[in-house]
């Protein structure tokens, strides 16, 4: 199988990567680009531990071929903190509100919440619950994940107001 050279923008950086046509995006991110914050939980797009942000959409990277992502702009949890290391309000919120336990779903949850808050900067609890309903968490019972996203929503909007 001849490899294809693919261009991607990952966490703000333009990169080229050679992949087999059948390589899944999650494997390219994890194994070629060493972005191991992207996790695999089911390989059937049910659990969403593999969620990344791709061209402004939440995408389950376990069921997308890397070649389908050619030319795309991708953000993973590794790209969430500011260059100076300041955590994104979602990262802070998950810790402050105890929104994680084993941490396995967390990167996918954070990436989904990141897009949700752009779609809807001020979601109600119910909107958050529906908004993350494609992501499975086995540890927390979601209650504190909802609070973590509310925390980030509040903080992001307070930041907007200050500008």
């Amino acid at each position: 199988m001849a490899k294809k050279l693919i261009e991607l923008i990952v966490n703000g950086e333009a990169i080229e990567v050679a992949v087999n046509p059948r390589d899944l995006l999650v494997h390219t991110l994890r194994e070629d680009l060493k972005l191991t914050g992207v996790h695999i939980g089911c390989e059937t797009s049910h659990c969403a531990a593999c969620t990344v942000d791709l061209d402004g959409c939440s995408v389950k990277s376990c069921t997308m071929f890397t070649v389908q992502a050619a030319g795309s702009e991708i953000k993973t949890v590794e790209g969430m903190a500011a260059p100076d290391g300041t955590l994104h309000p979602l990262q802070e919120g998950f810790r402050e509100m105890h929104g994680l336990q084993c941490g396995y779903c967390t990167p996918g949850m954070i990436m989904r919440a990141y897009r949700l808050l752009q779609e809807n900067p001020r979601p109600t609890e119910e909107e958050i619950r529906w908004g993350i309903s494609g992501n499975i968490c086995r540890c927390t019972g979601y209650q504190n994940i909802v609070k973590a996203i509310q925390y980030a929503s509040d903080k992001l909007r307070a930041g907007e107001g200050a500008k």
Binding site: H39, T44, H98, W130, S133, G141, V146
Partner: protein
């Protein structure tokens, strides 16, 4: 400086600058997990690493006629194909299970469940390995499968285990049939019989606890690296009990234990799934030995759900005997346990049914007897404790359902009936009919607090109104009130009761305090999300007076951590947490001697005050722990060793008995079977509360898993043995939308025998939650002739039940 420190700690303080016991300390682990810097098993990558994948049986019961390796070996990238025949010379085609049975590592001449491991394909990457699996050519001859455990012991039942067919004795006594594993009894049969003979009222019910799966979000996996030069094996893996894995590896191989290093990296949830030893672990090691390269094995989700570690599958017939006033005088239960093709239950050696004999629950029942019979079927092995101490969910389900059945029979309130039968506070320590010594508790107080919080009488009034509306045709909804008052038995355990493969179930902690007053502590347990790095440091902060932030906690590396039996059965806090406190006290004792030497006073003239020692009556003569740490490396009393280190191996004198009172208010749409939880209140008593934030999180998570088990989870099979629940399309994992909102509360009765009074919490909400949901569903139908309907309470099942009671037309 102090002000700055106070400001920085701010709301985290809760009166404790050290962030010790009782503080809602934010989790240390979260710093890496929120940034994608956790290191889970699939993140372990070594130079030259190969990838292994299993070819699995498509049949539940079949003879393997022939395996043609050539078809797989010709696939580009495939390096090796390992079958059982390759394992026979190594005597590794079977491995011992924790339950005293053996399990096939690869099927030799037979396969006994669908998706059983048949061959291990080793390739340069996971894609090539999958191609190899696809290409492997195996000839099978199908055999009739045995799926119904009730038919396992029939005279003409299919013979499953040809390897042990003539074995008259199993690990737990004599076998009555080739598909029989054990029959185990506990309690006083004669006394119980007498109680039943004298009873005014007897109730009997069949309670099925269906097969489910812990299904952590991360599946199981391992990476084995056998160094061909040094003979050193390093094995990374999803191990809840890494030291046990090391010992098992040494026992079944020729590799001496000191040349085996087992490392459990971050674990993405366990819930019992990662206690056992699986063929994948063994094959990754064998493949590394054969190929002289590191080999990784990672399960996919379907493999996880279909081959590693089911839970439950208990078929319980239970009876209660009572006086007409509602005093329970006897309990009897008879269990048929479906163990699948191999007995791979993870229980303490002595107890093939785990701690099922905690089934008298929170009640003072003078006579009790139980009998559990284990049988083989053509299903995956397992029988793990899914977020509970060994078989305790099954036990608590038995008593908490039966007390509701009795309440219905007596036509009394189920809450009142519980109160009438509680073990009273003055009866502790209380010895149950099965001989367990309950350490402490105040059940009436917890129940009263919970009933008041939920406005129990108000709920019953609302339920009666809804029932009237239903009967009069105004509404098609019913209301159910679920109650569960449970007692757990956790912290396995005292070595007089508990061992795994002959090793007592102690746990351990080793602390080193560095000269600058920072420290590292290592423990024999292994967190899978429970937050050990955070909470153990809190215990130590209180015990040794150093800030929790200055104490690093490490687990999971058998080369560095002291020997321990791992994390499951809510044993980390009760056992390793105790070792942690005791090791801390040894540090403090030595520090006191050093402080006495510095002040030139007798050590009894010093008193401990949060983070240092002061001379009694002379508060200006005070030395902080941080400064004592420095002195430990340059100024110790004559004859004392330098340094400030301690180790403690803790063999607990007893189990701990956390308990709780749970209430659920549920609405049921009779025409669709849809159940809606309107309110769920959980009061837990786990003794001393180390980190209330983490406790609350554990309760939320456990309740969510209980909700899943009671309302939807099921691993089922069709008549030929095809597994029907092996993907996340079929197996119910609640999302944020289905999951109810949780209210938590507590009382705090410390354990009298635990050094800091803690009892464990992680599994209580699962154990208490499952019967609570099930009771709510059943309670809704009580006034309409319902006695018991089985889990899972899916809409289809609830609708069918309503129909069977004549409540739905058609």
């Amino acid at each position: 400086m102090a002000e700055i420190l106070d400001a920085r700690l701010g709301d985290k303080l809760e009166g404790d600058k050290l962030e010790g016991i009782g503080c809602k300390r934010k989790r240390v682990e979260d710093i890496r997990f929120t940034q994608g810097r956790g290191r889970y098993i699939d993140d372990v990558n070594l130079p030259g690493m190969l990838f292994g994948d299993f070819a699995r049986s498509p049949y539940a019961h079949a003879r393997i006629k022939k395996i043609n390796k050539a078809s797989a070996l010709s696939v580009p990238g495939v390096v090796a194909v390992i079958t059982a025949e390759d394992l026979v010379p190594l005597n590794l085609h079977y491995m011992p299970t924790l339950a005293g049975d053996v399990q096939a590592v690869l099927g030799l001449d037979k396969v006994l469940f669908q998706n059983q491991e048949v061959a291990f394909i080793v390739a340069k990457n996971r894609y090539a390995a999958a191609d190899g699996v696809e290409a492997l050519d195996v000839d099978y001859e199908e055999l009739p499968p045995l799926l119904d455990p009730f038919k396992a012991l029939e005279p003409d039942a299919p013979l499953l285990r040809e390897d042990i067919k003539d074995k008259a004795d199993g690990a737990h006594g004599s076998r009555e049939h080739y598909n029989h594993i054990f029959t185990w009894t506990a309690g006083d049969e004669a006394a119980t019989q007498e109680a039943f003979a004298n009873a005014d009222v007897v109730v009997k019910e069949y309670l099925a606890h269906p097969r489910v799966h812990p299904c952590p979000l991360e599946t199981c996996g391992s990476v084995a690296d056998m160094d061909p030069v040094t003979g050193q094996l390093t094995l990374w893996g999803t191990f809840q009990a890494p030291h046990v894995v090391r010992t098992v590896a040494a026992l079944i191989s020729d590799i001496p234990e000191h040349k085996i290093r087992v490392i459990a990296p971050d674990i993405g949830g366990g819930f019992g799934n990662k206690v056992g030893v699986y063929p994948g672990y063994v094959l990754s090691i064998v493949a590394s030995i054969i190929t002289k390269k590191p080999v990784k094995w990672i399960e996919d989700r379907m493999e996880n759900l279909s081959s590693t570690a089911f839970a439950r599958d208990y078929h319980i017939t239970a009876e209660l005997a009572a006086t007409r006033e509602g005093k329970i005088i006897g309990m009897r239960s008879n269990v048929l346990a479906d163990h699948g093709a191999f007995d791979a239950c993870a229980d303490p050696s002595k107890y093939p049914a785990g701690l099922y004999h905690i089934c008298t629950g929170a009640y003072d029942i003078p006579a009790a007897f139980c009998s559990v019979k284990g049988v083989y079927t053509n299903k995956a092995p397992g029988g793990v404790a899914y977020r509970c101490s060994f078989r305790v969910t099954e036990a608590v389900y038995t008593i908490e359902r039966m007390i509701e059945v009795l309440a219905a029979k007596l036509n009394v309130d189920a809450g009142d009936l519980r109160k009438k039968n509680f073990i009273q506070p003055e009866q502790f320590p209380y010895t149950s009919a099965f001989g367990w010594e309950y350490d402490s508790g105040n059940y009436p107080t917890a129940m009263a607090k919970a009933m008041e919080a939920v406005d129990y009488d108000g709920l019953r009034s609302r339920q009666a109104e809804m029932l009237e509306d239903f009967k009069s045709g105004k509404s098609r909804e019913l209301m159910g009130i679920g109650i569960s008052f449970f007692t757990e038995i956790v912290g396995a355990g005292p070595s007089k009761n508990c061992d795994i493969l002959g090793i007592g179930m102690f746990d351990s902690c080793e602390i080193r305090v560095h000269p600058t007053g920072a420290a590292i502590a290592r423990l024999g347990t292994k967190s899978q999300g429970q937050g050990h790095e955070t909470t153990y440091a809190q215990i130590l902060a209180t015990e040794i007076g150093l800030p929790a932030d200055m104490i690093k906690i490490e687990e999971g590396d058998t080369d560095t951590a002291p020997y321990g039996l791992g994390t499951y059965g809510s044993r980390s806090t009760p056992v390793a947490g105790a070792a942690c406190a005791r090791a801390g006290r040894k540090i403090r004792h030595k520090a006191q001697m050093i402080a006495a030497h510095i002040f030139k006073v007798h050590h009894d003239d010093l008193e401990w005050d949060v983070d240092g020692f002061a001379v009694k009556g002379l508060p200006e003569k005070r030395i902080a722990m941080k400064d004592i740490a420095w002195a430990a490396y340059n100024n110790v009393p004559e004859g004392m060793e330098m340094g400030l280190e301690a180790v403690d191996y803790y063999d607990p004198p007893n189990f701990t008995y956390p308990y709780g009172a749970y209430f659920c208010a549920m609405r049921i749409d009779v025409d669709t079977g849809v159940c809606t939880v309107d309110r769920f209140y959980a009061l837990d008593d786990c003794g001393t509360r180390i980190n209330p934030m983490i406790i609350e999180g554990q309760v939320h998570g456990g309740l969510t898993e209980a909700f899943a088990v009671a309302m939807g989870q099921l691993i089922s099979f069709d008549e030929t043995g095809n597994i029907l629940g092996a993907s996340l399309m079929d197996f119910f994992l609640p999302t944020a939308v289905e999951t109810p909102k949780w209210e938590t509360d507590y009382t705090e009765v410390p354990s009298p025998h635990h050094p800091i009074g803690a009892k464990g919490i992680g599994e209580c909400p699962h154990v208490g939650g499952v019967p609570c949901f099930s009771n709510a569903v059943n309670d809704a139908f009580r006034a309409l002739g319902g006695t018991h309907t089985h889990m899972p309470h899916t809409p289809a099942n609830v609708w069918a039940y309503a129909r069977s009671l004549g409540l739905v037309e058609g």
